[in-house]
Amino acid sequence: MSLLPTKPGFMAGRSVPPEPGYYDYAPYMGRPKITWPEGKRLAFWVAPNIEFYELAPPASEARAVWYRPEPDVLNYAMRDYGNRVGFDRMADVMAAHGVRGSVSLNVAVCDHYPKIIERCCELGWELFSHGIYNTRYMYGMSEDEQRRVIRDARKTILRVSGQRLDGWLSPAISNELETQDLLAEEGLLYTLDLFHDDQPMPVKTRSGKKFTSLPYMMDVNDVPVLNFQSISPQDYLQLIKDHFDQLYAEGEESGTVMCLPLHPYLIGQPHRLWILDQALDYICSHSGVWLATGREIAQWFNDHHYDEMERWIAGLGQEGGE
């Protein structure tokens, strides 16, 4: 997603396999039926990214961190707006609709701005990890180094909220190939790093532990929509509704998921907050919507559908399989 290119030399001498190997092909046709609690059709979850970008981050071997020579006041301040102003506005609107957030959290926010975390906890939101800072990437890290980041996140979230670290979105979506293996080994339930499907899916990792991919939908993520694609607020609202309508219709056959990834620095602007208000109004007016968190969706899928889905996928590759 980054607009910034890889630094020359970063991948020199490294061999990359032709595919990541996290899953086998599974067509969106003839799949085992997913049923959500109380027969709901669509599990809706909101994932606000509560982030901290450092003004003076360490250099990365992989990419430039900022767009302008540091201090990049424009881009730092744009994101800082989310923590100072946008967060409370966004939280007010979500609370008014009874929608909880599942926070994609740069866990350093727990140290910098404990009041934000307190409010998330008061509202019953889930905290999952988006790394330490959004200016510290997983790129180029050894397995031990990646484990260190995962464990820091787990410890920090537990300390401030009493919550288990169950979900993961790599900071600035910076992965190494083994990241998913390590997350599974560290006991996490779900990852948002994979964009291959609209339904929860088992992820193949080397430990064979249950590990689920949840859809984190870039289609309706405010950063690509508003920043990279320059879509108007009106069109963004329509996009959210169209996206929902299709998934809701498909949910009659088998349970679907809709994720709304947000950034308070964008959606929390005075000229955009109404989009969220109207989007939640629309979505919540449908009786077949399960208002869930990432953890709840992953846990339900693990408990009720994971094994069957895995068996079905395995059967696809066999002679005479369905």
Binding site: Y67, P71, L74, V85, D88, H112, K115, S142, R272
Partner: protein
């Protein structure tokens, strides 16, 4: 494969921001103020008068609106110059009609190059704020300190000499600062800056030469971002401004006086097809008796008088 051990040092991982320029303050904790003009929502119009030299370096950063065409960019140069010749006079008529006194964040070069424009603005009592020398001389992390000190001094001195005003405001061209810009502005007698886009309300900004008031000049809602960079039609832009007005007005009940900042560049907003939309927008904004225009300097002083340091 590994990263340096120092990649796991987090020197600023503690309560508060990760620098010493200002304190963290959330929307809910901002001290409420009442504007002395009596309106709940202050309409702060800022006009950017800028000179983009034909030979602007474009490095190490390209300002928004900077030239990115190959070769000698005559089209870009003249299109921006249009703003200072034509567009600004359309906006002037419009602002006169609606009784709005704007802040003009200007490159010193424009004051020197366009005396009749300067005269017309000063006659109207428009507030002049310093915005560097020209768009080929940006303030950024790689600028030599002596060169930057000279640019800041020259910008203030030229604008004060030509305008006869105190000139206490500063907007860094392209919202770009070096680590020293604010210190230099304060040392030159500046009282407020409008560069950091992280708030909707003023806050105090520490410098080596006393504190400044950082004013919430909008960028995300500027004509340049929405209509130039994102190529949205004027109606989409004005609809966003009205949405911001509605939200900010609703917040005045809880949070006190608020500011609606309109950031306009005459080479973008002063084009013929935009004027009718702007006219309707100003009418719409000012039809509410709770919305009243004010300049950046007036708002900064008003805010500072009510919020103890």
């Amino acid at each position: 494969m590994s990263v340096p051990e120092s990649y796991f040092d987090y020197p600023n991982r503690r309560e508060g921001v990760d620098h010493d320029r200002f304190a963290f303050r959330s929307l809910r904790d901002a001290p409420p103020v009442q504007w002395s003009h009596g309106g709940k929502l202050a309409l702060w119009v800022t006009l950017h008068l800028e000179h983009f030299p034909l030979n602007m370096p474009g490095k190490p950063l390209l300002p928004i609106g900077g030239f990115d065409r190959p070769g000698v960019s005559v089209w870009d140069y003249t299109e921006r110059d249009y703003g200072n010749r034509v567009g600004i006079f359309r906006l002037m008529r419009l602002l006169d009609r609606h009784g709005i006194t704007p802040t003009v964040a200007m490159n010193a070069a424009v004051a020197e190059r366009c005396p009749p424009l300067m005269e017309a603005m000063l006659e109207r009592g428009w507030e002049i704020a310093a915005s560097g020398v020209d768009m080929g001389h940006l303030h950024h992390g790689e600028i030599p300190p002596e060169e930057e000190a000279r640019l800041v001094a020259e910008s203030f001195a030229t604008l004060r000499r030509i305008s006869g005003q105190a000139v206490t405001g500063w907007h860094s061209p392209a919202h770009s600062q070096s680590p020293r810009t604010a210190d230099l502005v304060a040392a030159e007698g500046g009282q407020w800056i409008a560069d950091w886009i992280n708030d909707d309300m003023p806050y105090r900004f520490r410098t080596d030469a006393g504190s400044l008031v950082q004013m919430p000049l909008s960028y995300d809602l500027s004509d340049r971002k929405v209509m130039q960079l994102q190529a949205q039609p004027a109606a989409i832009w004005s609809g966003q401004v009205e949405a911001a007005r509605d939200l900010l007005l609703s917040e005045t009940a809880t949070y006190g006086g608020r500011i609606l900042s309109l950031s306009l560049s005459p080479w973008v907003a002063g084009r013929p097809a935009k004027i009718a939309t702007l006219d309707r927008l100003f009418s719409s904004l000012l039809s509410d008796s709770e919305v009243k225009p004010a300049t950046g300097g007036a708002l900064a002083a008003d805010w500072a008088a009510q919020v103890p340091a």
